[in-house]
Symmetry: C2
Subunit: 441 residues, 2 copies
């Protein structure tokens, strides 16, 4: 519906999500106009691509006149009212977003790394130019968690988030749990199915989830956090034995992002593989799905579940943001996008964060090993709730074995000190592996 009053979109990036946005607008553009009582009509006015010939070869739906390889054209074209950044990365994407804001063109982006790493500069520019950045697509694909926190929970102090916000990791852990696969085999399967990138580093090392958690925290508490200040660990160290052990205790292993505000206002933010109770609703989040549990002081416990990635779900969020941005263009002044409202805040050092733990040691099995480890833990006044060494029936007297300890809640710093002492014992063969046992209430 390219009427005179239709809003022109400049699409930077025409890959999976970009073409999903195109398709979604083709399919539902008229419905959007109908649903907004005629207030919003959208059309794509310009598309930034890397290779015009390639796009022309792959689709006949797109008018070649819309294509450009020069991002400045996207910004400068008077037909472009809103800029959608979907090229990824933090360098060119930064240039494009900054230039769009300077030209007072609202930005819609799904780039979590960009906002987590350079959000301070970009939100400052957003404020200065009175031009919003919308980023629903940056966290949990098709789940409208950004708008929920920003608008629906505006009257809540957000006490905590617990999220499964990396679909790739969740898929891999699920296959390790259900089919007994090793990490490597499950990862290869995820890659074959298109659930993991050729380079899966940011998915499996926890940083993709961490970028999303940083954004959720900024939304809830109003200030940006330096990624260097938070504790992130991924799922590379999870073994089938850990999953088996978790199951036997009534837990499942999930890569969990935890954000909590403490009584003194400090924010606890960490991402790591965690044991969570099988009965908790987050344990029912399977495959590539994402879910975020939110606890607000008024709303109480809530959970938002859906597809965390993929062409259409992410396009759904981009399109919702486009409608929001289009409505904002009709406003006289100010903007309704998010702005950090606090200069800074305190991050709880990871050493002060406290949970129960599961620790796996690779030990040389000889009499006295348990006593030696237990002695060090006792010296640090860390309680043991259980210890276990799975016997290999085909080799019950194996020399090298896994020895597992379940520990009572204590500060992580205290645990680290104890573990470094234990690692120095000559019966210990490699660095201990630690998972949190998360009490989600």
């Amino acid at each position: 519906m390219n009427t005179c009053s239709s809003i022109g979109i400049g699409l930077a990036g025409f890959g999976t999500v970009g073409s999903g946005v195109w398709n979604t607008l083709e399919r539902t553009g008229d419905l959007i106009t109908e649903r907004t009582g005629g207030a919003v009509a959208l059309h794509i006015a310009k598309i930034l691509v890397r290779d015009v010939a390639k796009v022309r070869a792959s689709t006949s739906a797109v008018d070649p006149a819309l294509l450009t390889t020069d991002w400045r054209q996207l910004i400068e074209d008077p037909a472009v009212d809103i800029v959608v950044e979907l090229i990824g990365g933090t360098t060119d994407a930064f240039e494009i977003v900054a230039a769009a804001l300077k030209a007072k063109k609202p930005v819609v982006t799904g780039n979590k790394a960009l906002l987590a790493e350079r959000g301070v500069e970009l939100f400052a520019l957003s404020r200065e130019m009175e031009t919003p950045i919308h980023f629903e697509a940056a966290v949990a694909g098709g789940i409208p968690i950004i708008r929920t926190v920003q608008d629906s929970f505006i009257g809540n102090q957000i006490q905590s988030f617990s999220g499964i916000i990396n679909g790739t990791s969740n898929y891999i852990l699920g296959r390790m749990t259900d089919a007994g696969l090793t990490f490597d085999v499950a990862l290869a399967e995820a890659q074959a199915l298109g659930y993991a990138e050729a380079d899966p580093t940011l998915d499996v090392n926890g940083w993709d989830a961490a970028h999303k958690a940083l954004l959720l925290s900024t939304l809830a508490y109003g200030f940006s956090i330096d990624p260097a200040e938070i504790h992130v660990s991924g799922i590379e160290q999870v073994r089938p034995a850990d999953i088996h052990f978790a199951k036997s205790l009534g837990y499942v292993v999930k890569l969990l992002a935890v954000i909590r505000q403490k009584a003194d206002g400090a924010v606890e933010l960490r991402v790591q593989p965690s044991f969570i109770a099988q009965t908790h609703i987050l344990a029912s989040v399977h495959g590539v799905f994402n879910a975020v549990a939110v606890h607000g002081d008024a709303a109480g416990e809530s959970l938002f579940y859906g597809r965390g990635a993929g062409q259409d779900p992410t396009a759904s969020s981009v399109v919702a943001d486009l409608v929001e941005a289009a409505r904002g263009l009709r406003q006289a002044s100010g903007h309704r996008g998010f702005l950090p409202y606090r200069e800074s805040g305190r991050i709880l050092p990871v050493e002060e964060t406290a949970t129960a733990y599961y620790v796996r040691f690779d030990v040389t099995d000889r009499p006295g090993v348990v006593a030696e480890i237990a002695r060090v833990l006792a010296d640090h006044r860390i309680g043991i709730s259980g210890t276990h060494s799975p016997v290999n029936p085909s080799n019950p007297d194996a020399e090298f074995v896994d020895m597992v300890f379940l520990l009572h809640t204590c500060p992580f710093g205290k645990l680290q000190t104890a573990l470094s002492e234990i690692a120095a014992l000559d019966c210990i063969n490699s660095a201990p592996v630690v998972f949190r046992i998360e009490n989600l209430g």
Copy 2:
């Protein structure tokens, strides 16, 4: 923060939710102003109560000058910019909402019965007066499902909703499942705990859920539905034996609201006790919690879970709507509230809705009973996937027993015809009880 530019709220009703709104604004009013970059400050300017003396006796927090027993004062007071209707019912509440709209004062309401029954008139008035009605609190208390459907999923054709949207019923069914209670005992317990009203009729007969389902359908498909056109049944007929039987087959019994758009555009909308797979995420919705699963063509499968009622969760939704309404007051023209965008649409007659079924017959047990029932079903070409009569070990030859049939998917109309024939058999002692077996995909 009662600054000059602060928005004045007229609160109609100061019961549970009304005082929750007061408390929430006391607690987070400054935070709201901070989070909106100073754009929104709210204060309560007038409160409609039934008995001024009673309020004065129960709280010293409220300035008596704010109280009135005349709703016209609430509308006419120039200090009132937005009217919040929380008195319930469909008569006085209608007068107040209509008068507020006529005075061009945006309305926030949590009154699902009012909007389900008189929404056509009120939304027409809303359009005419260019003044929005916000109703997040009307469906599923603290879960922001209204805004999600309206804004976040605006680029989606909504294919279906499946919802557990009556906490009282869910609590009762849960206690029947977990503790083997009868319906009457579980209901009495729910009343004792304050989870059910003294008059629980609308909760247990399905109509509270149906009112919410009507609103969700109107949001998704743009037209209002006459409550007389939909099929609603409640949980009064559920017995422990049904729950036990469901469990043994891998199901749980839930009061489910199902809304679906068929390929020809017709809307299927029904509320009834249903068997759903224990592995489906909706099966994990326990106690008084609510959840709505939404399937959009772009977003895919999503689920929104949280508290469906209660003082603070409902107040959280009212306050979010107040902020939205306050922002709207600053707009030059038009409104961002919901307006039905279609005159009418087709409702799929319940006779044409098709699922699998669980049917319980109260029979006189004599040879030939199963054959007689099976004969009638066969005549109507309704397939049987199983039949079962629980033997009472202490009285294996009991004369009157429950006989359960599991039936393959067929149109409900066909089932009804067959069941009326079966009911006429002389071995059948009372009307058969039917639950849907819902395939939630």
